[in-house]
């Protein structure tokens, strides 16, 4: 055969030739002093390269000041729009409760008015994804939100009474409203949804935690907890299932194998009888 080129010799040393090709080279090198010298040189280059590159492992972190964040996934930026902001949602919900209470107070316990109100509420869409644009684009529109939301809102408010002064003023009117709305509107559906946002939040949180970028969200987290019971964020389109995400236990600073312990990949390949053996698998590394 012809003399193999340098690339082929390296592929042979790396154990990346097919068995047929490899045995051809083996036979040729055995009888060709020139090529045997090339093989010897190539082996030297392979070993020296590995040695030189190992020196690069002795590098501390923080060598380069101000390393910017790797561009975050666009989805995570787009995910939180302004109307999804916790404060705005809380404000909209509060306004609804206060407005509703005032309405009831002024008209007294006018049953007709209450019924009419509930009726209008039921006509409006049940909003399975409450984060839809119509839901909280403006406070005025927010008062039109389904009564079902009021149910969740009031219960959240009761949990944290200090948060909503309006409800403290007229608890009776509000309770009355609440009872009726629960009876008449689709309360069960709402109950299901009140579980979902938590899961979504946890999924998001664990993802972001893994990125070590949780800082900004953490500040919101306490507020969000209460507000998430009230407001159902829209299902996140490309978020992974909550279970999968929660299992990603990527620590912010994973322990990295030390250079010594890890060694280099090449160290895992030994040369046995002219063939490169993968020490991990014990198999000869065959051609591509």
């Amino acid at each position: 055969m012809q003399h193999p080129d340098e690339g082929t010799i390296h592929a042979w040393i790396d154990g990346q030739l097919s068995p047929e090709q490899a045995s051809e080279i083996t036979a040729h090198v055995a009888g060709c002093a020139e090529c045997a010298a090339m093989v010897a040189e190539a082996r030297g280059l392979v070993a020296a390269s590995t040695r030189i590159l190992t020196a690069l492992d002795d590098v501390p972190g923080g060598v380069i000041p101000g390393v910017p964040d790797i561009a975050p996934a666009p989805a995570q930026i787009a995910r939180r729009r302004w109307y999804q902001r916790t404060e705005l949602r809380a404000a909209a919900a509060l306004l609804f409760v206060v407005g509703g209470s005032l309405l009831v107070t002024r008209r007294g316990v006018d049953m007709d008015a209450t019924r009419a109100m509930i009726a209008t509420t039921e006509k409006s869409p049940p909003a399975p994804t409450v984060g839809s644009d119509a839901a909280a684009t403006s406070p005025a529109e927010a008062t039109q939100r389904p009564m079902a939301d009021a149910a969740a809102t009031s219960s959240a408010v009761e949990a944290a009474p200090g948060a909503a002064e309006g409800s403290a003023v007229k608890p009776l009117g509000e309770r009355e409203l609440l009872r009726r709305s629960e009876a008449k509107s689709s309360a069960p559906a709402q109950a299901d949804q009140s579980i979902q946002p938590k899961a979504t939040f946890e999924a998001q949180s664990s993802r972001l935690q893994a990125r070590g970028e949780l800082r900004s969200l953490k500040q919101d987290a306490a507020k969000t907890q209460a507000a998430d019971m009230v407001n159902v964020p829209p299902p996140v389109a490309n978020a992974p299932p909550a279970g999968a995400a929660a299992q990603v236990d990527v620590p912010p600073r994973p322990t990295v194998a030390t250079p010594v312990e890890g060694g280099s990949g090449s160290a895992d390949r030994g040369v046995v009888g002219g063939r490169v053996i993968d020490k991990q698998s014990g198999q000869g590394v065959s051609g591509a």
Binding site: D5, E6, G7, T8, I9, H10, A11, D14, Q16, A42, G44, L45, V46, A48, S49, T50, I52, L53, A55, L56, D57, D58, V59, P60, G61, G62, V63, I64, P65, V67, P68, D69, I70, A71, A73, R207, A210, R211, G212, N238, P240, A244, A245, Q247, V248, D249, V250, R253, P254, V256, A257, P259, G262, S264, G265, S266, D268, R269, V285, A288
Partner: protein
């Protein structure tokens, strides 16, 4: 053990080492590796996971590097050189720092494709995986690697003799 756990346990160490060698900064390398695993999480399935991970990590670095590679690499060099000259630790540490600085210069002297192919090979990727990750033809990987190794060793040795000559001048 979930799939992402397995991926992380199997590939984090080689990936971080690859990136550290490529970038000269372990913190940065770890950030890129984490981002790579997060992206893997979003994939439905990975046909060749090792090639995929190395390719994505390489692309993340490349996207970032496009913006500021020169300044950053220059800073890394300066930092290494500063350690080399200003710090006076035990001799062995100094020697190792000097070796690291030489190695950094030598690897930076390679063409990008040669450098990446070599670093991937050092992490045990086979030729088909390297070809896939770098979008090379499988047949050209051997040539790429042989060129990369030769140039790396040659420029390292040139830098080494340069330094020895400098030291000799300083001594006399």
């Amino acid at each position: 053990m979930s799939d992402i756990d397995r991926l992380f346990r199997t590939y984090n160490a080689p990936l971080v080492r690859y990136l550290t060698r490529r970038l000269g900064d372990r913190d940065w390398a770890e950030e890129v590796a984490q981002e790579t695993f997060l992206r893997a999480l979003r994939q439905e399935s990975l046909t060749n996971e090792r090639a995929w991970l190395f390719a994505v990590a390489t692309n993340l670095v490349r996207d970032e590097a496009r913006k500021a590679s020169r300044q950053r690499r220059h800073l890394a060099l300066l930092a290494e050189e500063e350690r080399e000259t200003s710090v006076e630790p035990a001799e062995t540490t100094l020697e190792r720092a000097q070796e690291a600085a030489l190695a950094r210069k030598a690897i930076d002297a390679l063409a990008e494709r040669d450098r990446l192919a070599l670093l991937m090979r050092e992490e045990g990727l086979d030729y088909s995986e390297i070809a896939e990750a770098l979008e090379l033809s499988p047949g050209s990987v051997g040539t790429t690697l042989s060129r990369a190794r030769r140039r790396l060793v040659e420029s390292y040795e040139a830098l080494q003799s340069e330094r020895e000559a400098r030291e000799k001048n300083a001594a006399s």
